[in-house]
């Protein structure tokens, strides 16, 4: 039986230390090993890239195409980061180390400590603030598991504007509490596919029980934004989003420095790649030799079974295509427990780092993930999000295989799973 050792020195590097919040976001593009392929248009006669002017907040678009290595975080946004729980803690996982009888060290960065319980708020805030400053009254987006929709709803509320969320239908049905939270924050939620867009109506005509997917949700949200002259907030994949999320890795870098540690291994989970990129890219820049592992769902095996190619970001084929690992924009993943990972592609910058071999990948199956979540909750007291469970499963696996090496493993736990307890049904 596992018994918690209470004789612990400093273990939690947190928190209420606002100087740990970086002054700049970091954009990996100027430091990639190869040229990042630009987005391309989907049709000969019109420019999908230019259409972004009517879809994204202007400042987000400017950041997307300026490729500044370091970009100052505006003071008002930095203040809101403090309000929502940044810096998030970096915790020495003593309990997990003991349980695994590990000779090295395990740290986890805990993005579940933000007010919405995941990393998603790190980019929702700047995007909503930029939209509001441009005079936009309402923003629209999609959500898979619900974390992104929750973050968008809160960020819109902070910015004094409204939010409309298309929630992947299977999650909408399985997670009524997520819908409730988004509504509590002022968001309006529709199941996707919905009858509110042409794209959604067509899909429902063919299959009234369509479970939806992130790609479909993005397509509906973008169409809705265009039809109603709103602005769309991007949850992942786009370079500007990964740049906003770099706050995770930049804080971790300072926290590791305080702890006197250098990481040997970085592990995170990948849906579209934003928490993973945000966490790992600043650390890859600093620690040239660090081993990096991206963990995905075996049911959505984009890296192991996908192709590195130009593909559509959204199933409606409205946004420009990007070069990425993809299972195809029409891929409808299984109705898995980790809605945030049900996306067919991955961010172009991350895809390139996988292609060049800088980032290794692992596919984790449901049973393995659930076991990892159980171990983590018992040893660290944290019920991590099912998505984060993939990173934990890969980390536990790694530690077991390298049990006698004194490595420092740092895992990004992208969110908590307190609203996802149904995955433990049937006593799994």
């Amino acid at each position: 039986m596992f018994i918690y050792d209470t004789l612990m020195p400093i273990n939690m590097l947190s928190s209420q230390e606002k100087e740990l919040i970086p002054e700049n976001w970091y954009n990996v593009v100027p430091d990639l090993p190869e040229q990042l392929p630009p987005p391309i248009d989907n049709e000969a006669e019109r420019s999908s890239i230019e259409l972004l002017n009517r879809i994204l907040p202007k400042e987000v678009l400017r950041q997307e195409f300026t490729f500044q290595r370091y970009m100052k975080i505006p003071d008002d946004i930095r203040e809101i980061y403090e309000q929502i729980g940044r810096p998030t803690p970096l915790v020495r996982a003593r309990g997990l180390e003991q349980f695994l009888d590990y000779s090295g060290k395990i740290y986890f960065k805990y993005e579940g400590a933000t007010v919405t319980g995941s990393h998603k708020i790190n980019t929702a805030i700047p995007q909503a603030i930029y939209a509001a400053k441009e005079g936009v009254q309402k923003v629209v987006t999609e959500t898979g598991a619900g974390q992104w929709g929750t973050a968008t709803s809160v960020a819109a509320s902070f910015a004094g504007i409204k939010a409309k969320i298309f929630m992947v239908r299977i999650s909408y049905q399985q997670k009524p509490l997520r819908k409730k939270i988004m509504e509590l924050y002022g968001g309006t939620v529709s199941p996707s596919p919905s009858d509110e867009t042409r794209f959604g109506r067509n899909l429902l005509k063919d299959n009234p029980d369509h479970p939806g997917s992130l790609g479909i949700g993005i397509g509906e949200a973008v169409e809705y934004a265009l039809d109603h002259d709103l602005r769309y907030l991007v949850g992942s994949v786009f370079n500007s989003v990964l740049t906003h999320q770099s706050i995770i890795g930049l804080e971790t870098e300072k926290q590791l420095e305080i702890a006197g540690e250098e990481p040997d291994v970085l592990i995170g989970c990948v849906g579209g790649g934003s928490n993973f990129g945000g966490f790992s890219f600043p650390l890859i820049k600093k620690f040239k030799e660090v081993e990096v592992i991206a963990s995905t769902a075996a049911e959505v095996p984009k890296f192991s079974h996908g192709e590195y190619k130009y593909d559509y970001v959204d199933t409606a084929r409205i946004l420009p295509s990007v070069k990425m690992y993809s299972l195809g924009a029409d891929f409808v993943p299984e109705k898995i427990y980790a809605g945030g990972l049900r996306y067919h592609g991955a961010a172009p910058s991350l895809s390139m780092l996988v292609k060049t071999g800088r980032v290794a990948t692992r596919d984790e199956d449901e049973n393995h993930v659930i076991q990892a979540l159980k171990i983590f909750s018992k040893t660290q007291g944290i019920v991590a999000a099912p998505e984060s469970g993939h990173a934990l499963a890969s980390a536990i696996d790694y530690v077991r295989k390298h049990k006698h090496e004194k490595k420092t493993v740092v895992v990004n736990v992208s969110g908590h799973g307190l609203l996802d307890l149904s995955i433990f049904r049937d006593d799994k």
């Binding site: 593009v29 100027p30 430091d31 990639l32 090993p33 190869e34 040229q35 990042l36 392929p37 630009p38 987005p39 391309i40 248009d41 000969a44 006669e45 019109r46 420019s47 890239i49 230019e50 972004l52 002017n53 202007k58 678009l61 400017r62 195409f65 300026t66 490729f67 500044q68």
Partner: protein, 244 residues
């Protein structure tokens, strides 16, 4: 000499005869280089306007046209360059380099080489440079290490595409993207292009340290409308901006 302008024409657009008229009207006091686009089935990094010129030009194009354009331009003291997407270049093979050199072309620009064909870039650059200048094409997303490596392998001027596609309008921080390339290549001739929309923008780009400005999409309506007069007027205005 204060020539700062680079014109881009898609070869044989709108017709060979019409383009000959425009090329014959190029002012050697204003224009330093002319890029001629090899018509492509898949001009991936061009916007809708230039893409349309490619699909139209494919019907008219003959390789011998390039020699005619090259001959007129070199007589004016304007250096002609060919812009070819990698697959079109690879299809014709290295014999194209001899043909271009014979036609008076100064160099070759392959916009997708570093992006989609990085694995062969080094050998392609080496073989081009046996016959012609190789013009590196960078953009704000080009990593610092690639800018340094490719610049070190080449001796020519550099083409810096300001945005992901030609002829479209997206917001980006011009001062920021300009300063980055100038810091990386302080003593190299760097000419800016992609998405330049008006003379005010040309002025701004020149003030930010560009050695020249490539204009393509802006002159397409003049070509399409066979409006040589508008072209001459525009060229004159550009000359005044560049001199100022």
């Amino acid at each position: 000499m204060n020539r700062k302008t680079i014109f881009y024409f898609t070869s044989s657009y709108p017709t060979h005869e019409q383009l000959l008229k425009f090329i014959s009207s190029v002012d050697g006091e204003v224009v330093k280089y002319v890029e001629l686009g090899l018509p492509s089935m898949n001009p991936l990094y061009d916007g809708p306007s230039i893409r349309k010129t490619h699909s139209d030009a494919l019907r008219n194009f003959h390789f011998s046209h390039l020699a005619e354009y090259g001959s007129i331009l070199t007589r004016k003291g304007v250096r002609p360059y060919l812009l070819a997407y990698y697959n079109d270049f690879a299809q014709r093979g290295e014999r194209m380099l001899d043909d271009l050199a014979d036609a008076g072309f100064a160099g070759l620009l392959i916009p997708d080489l570093l992006i989609d064909h990085a694995d062969v870039a080094q050998s392609i650059i080496a073989s081009v440079q046996k016959k012609l200048e190789f013009i590196p094409f960078f953009n704000p997303a080009t990593p610092d290490a690639i800018v340094s490596r490719i610049s070190g392998m080449t001796r020519s001027w550099v083409y810096y595409g300001l945005q992901p596609s030609t002829g479209i309008e997206i917001p980006y921080d011009l001062a920021e993207v300009s300063s980055r390339i100038r810091e990386l290549l302080p003593s190299r001739e760097v000419n800016f292009g992609f998405g330049i929309r008006n003379l005010d923008q040309v002025r701004e780009i020149m003030s930010l340290g560009s050695d020249g400005v490539a204009i393509g999409t802006m002159i397409i309506p003049m070509l399409t409308g066979h409006d040589l007069e508008a072209f001459l007027k525009f060229q004159h205005e550009l000359g005044e901006v560049a001199v100022a």
